[in-house]
Amino acid sequence: MSLLFKGRQNKNEKQKKSILAGGYFFIINIFRQGIHSLGEMWRTPLASMMTIAVLGLSLTLPATLYLVVKNVQQVSSGFEEASEISLFVKETMSEQQTQTLVKRLALYPEVESVAFISKQQALTEFKSVSGFGQALEYLDSNPLPDVVLVTPTKRDRQPNAARALLTKLEAEREVDFGKLDIAWLERLNALLSLLKESVITITLLLLTSVTLIIGNTIRLSIMDKKEEIQVMKLVGATNTFIHAPFLWTGIWYGVIGGLFAFISVALMMWWLSSAVSSVAGVYQTSFSLIGLTLKEFGLLVLLATSLGFIGSYLSVNRYIKEIEPDKV
């Protein structure tokens, strides 16, 4: 585009046949600059790798903490599934009264399922599990009560809701008393909540530092190319043209840093998985670590790319404006 000489059309402008062709060229040019800035990074491999490593490691920590929360949640969700309220039925109640109670409890909106364990079933089970089978034969009567196991709905498994349900169930006339081991659940939930909060705080701090690291790296790059920027401005480069390579560099840092973080996390998971399996084996349970899903991987890279863009945009906007060709 010629501003001072309206009639002046260079050969290039004559080639532009339509807005569509112009748009196509604009996009091609942007991608060309992207590839060019990747080449620029390649020309300074050590500095680029160090920056990427710092970014990658800074992103690895929140990603790892996220996985810790995710795995702990997986374990605790298993515990929550098992959370039950045990209702001990009064000895004076007949079997028919107890069955009526079971049917009534099943109609509670807070109750997901109800199971009845008769005193006889309980004794048989106790005999087989406890190892006191023969000793128990000497008892005159069965000392165990009938028990109704109530599993609350998912919503009512939270400590407060479960406690409210227990009070409600204990009010039933057939029930002697109920038991809900809720203290450990409260502690676990409190710990999980603390962990989540800590992860969010640490993540925010690290993401801010990633943005600042990229911003500072781009700032140094801008300062290093001050002369080039001046010359570009002198020969008619627009701000968009000058900004583009630096923005691309920030984006590349983000993309490669994100990939670096993903690989680091994956390696860490692979390294820890056998140790975790051994620990689970000792507790006679099977547990395997959950890694990042494809969606989470995509989000990690997208987040890193966005931070790269934001960091570079802040620097570019702040510093390139200040560089003016002041000396002919």
Partner: protein, 225 residues
């Protein structure tokens, strides 16, 4: 083509670089701008290339008042002006080809055209065999010629040169000036700032002389007013 009307420039701090300067350079003219260091030559070129704005008066290029060119339009205005510097101002990390191609890349020229026109420009300045060299591999004269090739590669109607022969020996200086003469013969308006009066005398073109920010000799100045 280039028209200064009562142009003054005072820098922050009070230094008055130009004082009511009037002159007119016609399309296709070659003129010298002479004067001692600090006379205002660089300021005058800066005003034409929109690196500075006048404190008073108006600068017109092809009838366009540069005071009315906003900051977003400056890059497009600069594409119509080729600038050559005493210290070449080449991009050291890039090859001769990349340096010369820069204005074309900025304009968004197709890469086939870029190659053709860069080779054409380098051919004109006699450096076609140095395409792949980096500036550090070239002599001072060759670097200056690369700077000239960069300035003319997009065929700007105006060519400004600030002390283009400042660091060169007399023989090379004449060679460079003959290049300008050649571009001028093809219709480019050329304004060369120099303090080498001997060189100006040998070339026999119009000479504008600045002293302490004032225009001393310009036989055509009255035409402007």
């Amino acid at each position: 083509m280039i028209n200064f009307q009562q142009v003054s420039k005072t820098y922050p701090g009070g230094h008055r670089a130009l004082e009511k300067v009037n002159f007119h350079i016609k399309p296709g003219e070659l003129a010298f701008l002479t004067g001692h260091s600090g006379a205002g030559k660089s300021t005058l070129l800066k005003l034409i290339s929109l690196m500075e704005r006048p404190s008073a008066g108006n600068v017109f290029i092809n009838g366009v008042d540069l005071n009315k060119v906003n900051s977003r339009q400056i890059p497009y205005a600069r594409r119509d002006i080729g600038i050559i510097f005493q210290n070449h101002r080449l991009l050291e990390r890039h090859t001769v080809f990349d340096n010369v191609a820069l204005p074309l890349i900025i304009e968004g020229t197709h890469h086939n055209q870029i190659a053709k026109r860069v080779h054409g420009a380098l051919d004109k300045v006699g450096l076609i065999d140095k395409v792949k060299c980096h500036p550090s591999m070239l002599s001072g004269g060759e670097q200056q010629r690369v700077g000239i090739a960069r300035a003319i590669v997009n065929s700007p109607p105006i060519l400004l040169a600030d002390e283009p022969t400042g660091n060169l020996d007399p023989e090379l200086s004449m060679e460079i000036l003959r290049l300008f003469e050649d571009f001028n013969k093809h219709g480019t308006t050329v304004l060369i700032a120099t303090h080498d009066l001997g060189l100006v005398a040998r070339m026999r073109y119009r000479s504008l002389t600045l002293k302490d920010g004032r225009m001393l000799q310009d036989p055509l100045a009255q035409e402007v007013l």
